[in-house]
């Protein structure tokens, strides 16, 4: 269990994480990038930009 860097809730993770893998937080839905494995460290993943006619 690692804290989500976006909302602070605990994020359940699987055992064989790899750096660069993208997971998501079940509480806030944020996409999170694994940036370290020992110990596991998460950061918010870069978002795909969308053009809604702006």
């Amino acid at each position: 269990m690692v804290d989500c860097p976006e909302c602070g809730a605990g994020v359940d993770l699987h055992d064989d994480l790899e750096v660069g893998e993208i997971v998501d937080c079940a509480t806030c839905g944020a996409e999170l990038e694994v940036i370290g494995e020992g110990p596991v460290d998460l950061d918010t993943a870069p978002e795909l930009e969308e053009d809604w006619g702006e």
Partner: protein, 345 residues
Amino acid sequence: MTTTASVVGGTGFTGGELLRLLDGHPEFAVVQATSRSEANKTVGGVHPNLRHMNLRFSDPEDLDSVDVLFACTPHGVSMERIDRFRDAAGTVVDLSADFRLPAAEYYDDHYDGHDRPELLAEAEYALPELNRENLPGADLVAAGGCNATATIVGLLPLFGHDILSGGERIVVDVKVGSSEGGAGGGAAASHAERSGVVRPYAPTGHRHEAEIEAYLGTSVSFTVHAVDMIRGASATCHVFPDDPVSKGDMWGAYRGQYEDEPFVRMASGGGGVYRYPEPKAVAGSNVAEVGFEVDPPNERLVVFSAIDNMMKGSAGQAVHAANVALGFEETTGLAATGFHPIGSP
């Protein structure tokens, strides 16, 4: 032991939704549904999704004795007939506005007064996220209004976690589906006129302002648009706090308020297609979605909330409150999730 229930005013959309929920509820047995206009006709003839129910509408003058009476009558009827309702049932759950405000002044200012103001103190507001502690054992329960529910659920965490104190400026814009207007309809509700609209139908002075003020302790500037949905209410609340608020502050408030709530989900800028609350994502369920963004350059918070007006905004909320009032597990009969994908709900 089965709890008997009746639905008074069963031909409307809310009555039909309530019958659907009670029909699938393991603790309730629906023994009566009344209708003045459809008396002696089958429930399934009005609500096609309920054709399997072996039940005909009966005259509302002949109320059966039941454990719980759900009143889905137009505003003004329940306050007039409340003594008869209470004679017929140990618990009355009213889905109109007649008992949802806590004092007569609100009815004087926003409605046409109140016939039985002495009963307002007895009534418990149905929204469990706000009033759970007072619902167990309540025998007069008043379901909240759909637009007010969407707004209150969205803003509530800001008041319990030192982000707002009550004097700040708040502007609320709610987009609602056509089922909010009821089954009666009129010229403005015909398909040809209603389809495709983004129609401001209550630019100022909406009655639900009173409910928001009563239960959040603050006034809001409130506007409602009718949009091209059937189910759904989506509130966008522009909030101007006195002091800077960080995203961490907001997450602390929303997680603190709702993390353990069975019918509130947070959707706030995460991944996927639906990054913020969306009526489509909750249609048919009793779930409210809430989310937010912070806007430091404009010293603003934007709070979003989405509900199914027929569920969390009326019938679902009523059943949820009845579950709490009667001591049932509070999610009983309300576990259904929405559909995905789905068209306009």
